[in-house]
């Protein structure tokens, strides 16, 4: 089993694609350390015979008819874009 001391905020921030300042990193390390310490109580409970509940209400295989219908136009879909041109989202160059 892992230990909460292993929380490395700087590493997790990279996984989450979230730049943190040094101050934030330090603060979150301390604050979340306390939250995880509190969460330790979950491990004290014997749950070996218990199933996971991913949802409050187990419902499965919900389908609706696959019918075409009118939805947003391209222009509308682009209306909140930080940058757009020629009906496309403009993004930073990602390949050399």
């Amino acid at each position: 089993m892992s230990e909460t001391a292993e929380l490395d905020v700087a590493h997790v921030a990279k996984l989450a694609r979230l730049h943190l300042t040094e101050e934030e990193t330090k603060l979150f390390q301390a604050q979340l350390g306390r939250v995880l310490e509190y969460a330790e109580k979950l491990r004290k409970l014997d749950t070996s015979a218990v199933e996971d509940a991913a949802h409050a209400v187990p419902i499965f295989d919900v389908f609706r008819e696959d019918e075409p219908r009118t939805w947003l136009s391209a222009e509308e879909a682009l209306s909140n874009a930080p940058r757009q041109a020629n009906g496309l989202f403009v993004v930073p160059k990602v390949v050399e």
Partner: protein
């Protein structure tokens, strides 16, 4: 009647005037606009208001519809076509919703007029509305205190007469707790009772939208409008919607109410505890039987909740990548830098904390220890409720262990803020329904602070919960008390002529 008294009315009290055409939807909106101009400088409940659009809606309003011509305030996490939907976050500062959430479509179909978006904790993460990136909302009962959260703007607006009713969302208590702090009624429906389509997702297995209103009847009226199946939300239950007002007025003989012994904890404000004890005795005098019950896994609910809610939030908020909408960082060095700085600039501290926590508990090596474990505990919490609901019709408890706390008191300590959800989290984990309604006041040196009574009911038993809540409300006068911000007298005489209640 005097138009300035209009905004003190509940929706059910307003409707006869509209239906008899003694006042028009336009006049209602104008009275509300004047009221908001008075209250907003003191409570700051709204992030945006579009009266021009609302007046256009008012012109075509059909007052004979179930909510015909009634203006409703909307938490700024629910999409209203053409209006901002910022979640009180910088990352969505310039975002406008392109379509109506299902709850908005249903409100409009019932004749209601969505007219303004209310303040909230950023992405609904918080219990005080202090995590809004825009402004602080103040409690109408004492403006040095928080209105609760995350639906704090909706609660404060209703309490101050700056809205006839409002929608909020509740992921761990975010409708019920601000309702308690602000002295109004707030209902969290059972999971799957109300569509989540068009809500900005926080924790998808926990989120539900619901009403905040002045009275239990008004909450039932709003639930009649917004509940029901939705082909656009696969988690929305395919169950018919009963008339939630049908049992209002039925007495409580034969009703069994459970008092969970685990909800009597250290740290409950003595005035809160006394008020809830009095409420239990009052229920008894109304004919209900009070039974001591046990929810043995209560002490694990908050830990389980924060693991699950943060995990789901970290996944849901991954969509804010600066590509299709929202804030984008300037001059990125590379793709990683584009994502990392866009998100760093756009999200506030609490949201960042939860993204880190959620990413951590889902990451390889820790998933089993935290996330999977929290989901197993969730099963145990569901079983606790299933067992007690075999014996009782509803559970009663405080909504919050304390009344509204001073602005700034808890904002530096996330764990303390999380513990404020102690009585509300479990209902979201179990998917059951719950309501908070006023049950008294805690007196401080300079103010009276509302105390909220929580009733929890089994999944899809909202109708019963409304019946029980209504019986309590109508035999007490807590809901008639108005905050000082509503005028010099705290118990406003409401116009009563010819009103059928």
């Amino acid at each position: 009647m005097n138009l300035s008294d209009l905004t003190a009315l509940s929706i059910a009290e307003l409707q006869p005037f509209l239906r008899r055409r003694e006042i028009s939807p336009r006049e209602v909106l104008e009275a509300l606009q004047a009221r908001i101009a008075e209250t907003e400088p003191r409570i700051d409940a709204y992030l945006s208001i579009d009266f021009d659009d609302a007046l256009k809606q008012a012109e075509r309003a059909d007052v004979n519809l179930p909510l015909g011509g009634v203006p409703i305030a909307i938490k700024d996490i629910i999409s209203v076509a053409g209006q901002p939907c910022t979640c009180a976050s910088k990352i969505l500062r310039n975002y406008r919703a392109l379509y109506d959430a299902t709850v908005i479509r249903k409100l409009r179909a019932a004749g209601a007029i969505p007219f303004g978006k209310t303040n909230m904790d950023e992405f609904a993460m918080g219990a005080s509305t202090e995590n809004s990136s825009v402004k602080l909302t103040r409690n109408p009962w004492d403006t040095s205190r928080v209105p609760g959260g995350s639906s704090g703007g909706s609660a404060a607006a209703v309490a101050a007469g700056a809205a006839f009713g409002a929608l909020g969302t509740d992921t761990g208590g975010s409708i019920r707790q601000p309702a308690a702090f602000s002295g109004v009624v707030g209902m969290k429906p059972s999971y799957g009772r109300v569509s989540r389509f068009g809500l900005v997702a926080f924790a998808s297995s926990l989120d539900q939208a619901g009403p905040l209103t002045k009275t239990v009847r008004d909450a039932a009226l709003l639930m009649n409008a917004i509940a029901g199946p939705d082909p656009q939300d696969s988690t929305c239950l395919n169950e018919t919607v009963p008339d939630y007002t049908a049992d209002l007025g039925r007495d409580l003989r034969g009703i069994r109410l459970g008092l969970p012994k685990e909800y009597v904890i250290e740290g409950i404000d003595p005035q809160v505890r006394a008020a809830v004890d009095r409420a239990a005795a009052h229920f008894n005098s109304l004919g209900a039987e009070i039974i001591d019950v046990s929810l043995p896994h209560t002490e694990y609910a908050i830990a389980s909740y924060y693991m699950i809610a943060s995990a789901e939030a970290s996944a849901n908020l991954a969509r804010f990548d600066g590509v299709r909408y929202g804030h984008r960082a300037e001059n990125p060095q590379n793709l990683f830098d584009h994502y990392s700085r866009t998100r760093a600039e756009g999200f506030g501290p609490e949201v960042k904390r939860r993204i880190i926590l959620g990413t951590y508990v889902l990451s390889s090596g820790y998933y089993e220890a935290y996330y999977a474990r929290a989901q197993k505990v969730r099963t145990l919490i569901r079983r606790d409720f299933a067992e007690v609901f075999a014996r009782v019709d509803a559970l009663i408890s405080p909504t919050s262990p304390v009344p509204a706390f001073p602005l700034g008191e808890r904002s530096s300590d996330p764990l303390q803020m999380y513990l404020a959800d102690i009585f509300t989290n479990a209902a979201n984990l179990a998917g059951i329904c719950g309501i908070s309604l006023p049950c008294g006041f805690a007196k401080t040196e300079k103010a009276r602070l509302p105390i909220g009574l929580q009733l929890l009911g089994k999944a899809l038993d909202e109708r019963r919960i409304f019946q029980i809540a209504h019986a309590y409300e109508q035999s007490t006068d807590w809901h008639k008390q108005r905050p000082p911000i509503c005028g010099e007298t705290s118990n406003v005489q409401r116009p009563t002529s010819n009103i059928q209640l």
